[in-house]
């Protein structure tokens, strides 16, 4: 498990990619909350020609040096990435080309220009060209300590910026009008956010490459979003997921036997996607699995309350046959359901197949009936709904009305004693 850190060859790639993914996850959250995640994809593709051109220009004047390349490439990538950013804005403003078309056009064109230049230096400066390939899909394996230092410092800058500007960013992203009203320089902060995006992308493309970079912006943000609504937690969790994905991606790639060797970049992205899916499925409140469970639980409660109501109306005795006559339920399921209600204390077994309401059961049933009839009165008296229609709505609302709402209704309606069908409303004491 700790092998990547202990092994001298694997140390730099793992730590390097972890730092890069830290930066990209943080900034990814910032674009995610603006609903502009796809901008990251365009900017990362737009960074590619910068990589190539900077390599080309450097090759003309300097001798081959990997550390120099690492720095120069960052500068070049940043320049073309920002150029892409302003080009998109220009196209949208001046020619009224809509967002998606501008993004797609810029990303494909810039990449094409990049590939054009790449094909040139493939012949003229082959050694430098090999360095450029690293940025297409990323290549962490050849990273060394020098790279880690560079990327570490840059990632730290990103973290610092986000921490310092946190409150402004919070205000800007969630209540723009308020921010403007207190005099915040919103346009400046917007620009800074997008510049930061370009910066983070440029840092990250060494690890996952230009094509997959947007994955490392989006996937950690999605994973974090399912777990929290607060921006501070979003940032923290996204960073955590990003770093973990980088770590596990490296671990997996190094652990695989040689015939299954896969590039690290895609592995990191797939791990990050895995985290996102797990989070979306199993997150405590918003996870899909939990949502289904909650819905199922509510359905069970509702069914139980309906049975109690039916029993109360039929003189506190109920049998399976009577229930099935009213609600479409499976007989076997009903048998277990009755047993469960007995266990919970709402029913007691009278004779075989016949159950009696307990005291608690009676009170609960009366409460449901009270809520049902109160709601009918409300609809009939206040909203003018005809008496035939009120029953359906009340059948749904009786399970949902809270005690507070019940009090308010009772107050509003003057504590009525009969419903629109002239049936008595139980006074209903609380359980």
């Amino acid at each position: 498990m700790l092998k990547p850190f202990l092994d001298p060859v694997l140390f730099a790639p793992t730590l390097g990619s972890m730092l890069m993914c830290l930066a990209s996850s943080l900034v990814g959250v910032l674009v995610f909350v603006r609903k502009r995640s796809l901008l990251g994809e365009t900017l990362s593709h737009a960074a590619y020609p910068g990589v190539i051109i900077s390599l080309f220009v450097t090759a003309l004047f300097f001798a081959y040096s990997e550390e120099l390349i690492a720095i120069v490439v960052l500068v070049g990538a940043l320049i073309t990435s920002l150029l892409g950013l302003y080009a998109i804005d220009f196209l949208k403003r001046k020619f009224r080309i809509y967002d998606d078309a501008a993004l797609t056009f810029i990303l494909a064109s810039f990449l094409g220009v990049g590939i054009l230049f790449a094909s040139h230096i493939q012949q003229s400066h082959a050694l430098w060209y090999r360095q450029s390939l690293l940025f297409l899909y990323g290549q962490v394996a050849t990273m060394r300590e020098g790279h880690v230092v560079i990327y570490g410092v840059l990632a730290l800058l990103v973290v610092l910026f986000v921490s310092i500007c946190y409150h402004s960013l919070l205000s800007l992203n969630f209540d723009r009008i308020y921010s403007r009203s207190i005099g915040m320089r919103t346009k400046l902060l917007d620009m800074l956010t997008f510049w930061l995006l370009a910066f983070a992308i440029v840092i990250g493309i060494r690890s996952v490459g230009v094509i997959l970079m947007s994955g490392m912006l989006i996937a950690p943000a999605i994973a974090a979003k399912a777990l929290t609504h607060k921006l501070s937690k979003l940032l923290f969790l996204a960073a955590l997921f990003g770093v973990l994905s980088a770590y596990l991606g490296n671990l997996i790639t190094f652990a695989l036997p040689l015939q299954f060797a896969v590039p690290t970049g895609p592995a990191i992205v797939l791990v990050a996607t895995g985290f996102a899916l797990l989070s979306l499925l199993f997150a405590p409140e918003e996870g899909l699995v939990n949502r289904f469970l909650r819905v199922a639980k509510f359905a069970r409660e509702r069914r139980m309350e309906n049975i109690l109501k039916l029993a109360w109306k039929k003189g506190q005795l109920i049998s399976a046959r009577e229930v099935i006559a009213h609600f479409p339920l499976n007989a076997l399921y009903l048998k277990f359901f009755f047993q469960k209600m007995v266990r919970q204390g709402w029913l007691s077994k009278e004779t075989k197949g016949v159950y009696r309401l307990t005291e608690d059961g009676v009170r609960r049933a009366e409460r449901i009936v009270r809520l049902h009839r109160l709601w009918e009165v409300y609809l009939f008296d206040f909203l003018g709904v005809s008496s035939e229609r009120v029953h359906g709505s009340a059948c749904e609302m009786e399970h949902i009305i809270t005690p507070e709402l019940e009090d308010k209704l009772s107050l509003l309606l003057g504590d009525p004693k009969t419903d629109p069908h002239a049936q008595p409303i139980p006074s209903g004491d609380r359980l």
């Binding site: 796809l38 998606d100 078309a101 056009f105 094909s119 094509i211 947007s214 989006i218």
Partner: protein
């Protein structure tokens, strides 16, 4: 012996048209065609298909979907390749698809992408832009891993992005021709309905035109065109062919069919110029540039030039109007 070797950029064109004339009158046989000409055919056919499909993509604001599909086709190609390979054998090199596999791949890709994206939005309740991004990057990552595992070709990664126009042969051109004809047929049959569903959904519904049908048909067309073109220009640059000529053509017209024709024409000129410059640079200056890269860069250049001309025109007209209005006072 390549007849285009040593030609300058400008002498390329007359030679090309002369040889095309020979071809049409039967004095030049298909097997005598130079690789340059094959490349021009291939790129033009891709360009024409993309003009048809791309116009509707831009108009329907579906370019992000095309973006998504262009990445996910990698998975579709790999899976179709794995499924069909036992039946057709290895022909045409790595990841070559014949017509049958192409159809399966496009269908599979289009359905998979739309299913996953809509699933993420509706079931998992993730915002739309993030869903699109997650689906296509994860599928692309998966595709890269599968490709690396199954082809054992270290350079396949670069080929996926850049394409390998030099490996284009007759089989590819036949495939591209079929794709173009299919797109053309669909345009002729359903063109008016496509226009209606693009611009006026309510009206389409009232006359009973199925919106979903044309949406999914469009997705399959995009997938098929992208897969057809990926061998020549690579996965991402096909997007340039979907957008650049159309955006350029829109400076001149805002009607659908003229846009299609004009985009096709622009692509054709771009293809000619790309191959011509590639060949002349190679033979005269010993600069080997990627033809597909040149193609995309030229289309980009066309857009920039047209935009600049339009800007200047606009400014001149504005100042002319202004000076006129001054005089009238």
């Amino acid at each position: 012996m390549n007849p285009y070797w040593g030609q300058s950029f400008f002498s390329f064109f007359p030679l090309f048209f002369y040889r095309m004339g020979l071809l049409l009158t039967g004095r030049l046989s298909l097997s005598e065609l130079a690789p340059d000409e094959l490349q021009i055919f291939a790129l033009s056919l891709i360009g024409f298909s993309c003009a048809i499909v791309g116009t509707f993509l831009v108009v329907r604001k579906m370019t992000m979907l095309a973006n998504s599909l262009s990445h996910t086709i990698l998975v579709g190609i790999v899976i179709a390749f794995l499924v069909c390979q036992p039946f057709v054998g290895k022909e045409g090199g790595p990841l070559f698809l014949n017509l049958g596999s192409l159809l399966i791949a496009s269908l599979f890709t289009a359905l998979l992408t739309s299913f996953l994206t809509e699933g993420m939005v509706k079931v998992f309740k993730v915002q739309e832009d993030a869903s699109i991004g997650l689906v296509f990057t994860s599928l692309f990552a998966l595709g890269v891993i599968l490709v690396t595992l199954f082809t054992r070709n270290a350079h396949i990664g670069a080929e996926i992005i850049m394409g390998n126009i030099d490996a284009v042969g007759f089989k590819d051109i036949k495939l591209l021709l079929w794709i173009f004809l299919a797109n053309l047929l669909l345009l002729l049959l359903f063109g008016s309905r496509m226009v209606i569903t693009s611009f006026d959904e309510r009206f389409a519904k009232t006359v009973g035109i199925s919106l979903a049908l044309f949406h999914y048909l469009m997705m399959i067309q995009v997938a098929a065109t992208s897969i057809g073109g990926f061998r020549a220009v690579g996965v991402v640059m096909i997007l340039a062919l979907f957008t650049a000529p159309i955006l350029t053509a829109r400076f001149f017209t805002n009607k659908i069919f003229p846009t299609i024709f004009l985009s096709g024409f622009i692509s054709f000129i771009g293809a000619l110029a790309a191959v011509a410059s590639s060949r002349s640079l190679l033979s005269n200056f010993e600069m080997a540039l990627s033809t597909s890269g040149l193609f995309v860069a030229l289309l980009f250049l066309f857009f920039i030039l047209t935009a600049m001309v339009k800007c200047i025109q606009f400014r001149r007209r504005k100042s002319h109007e202004y000076s006129l209005s001054c005089r009238l006072r």
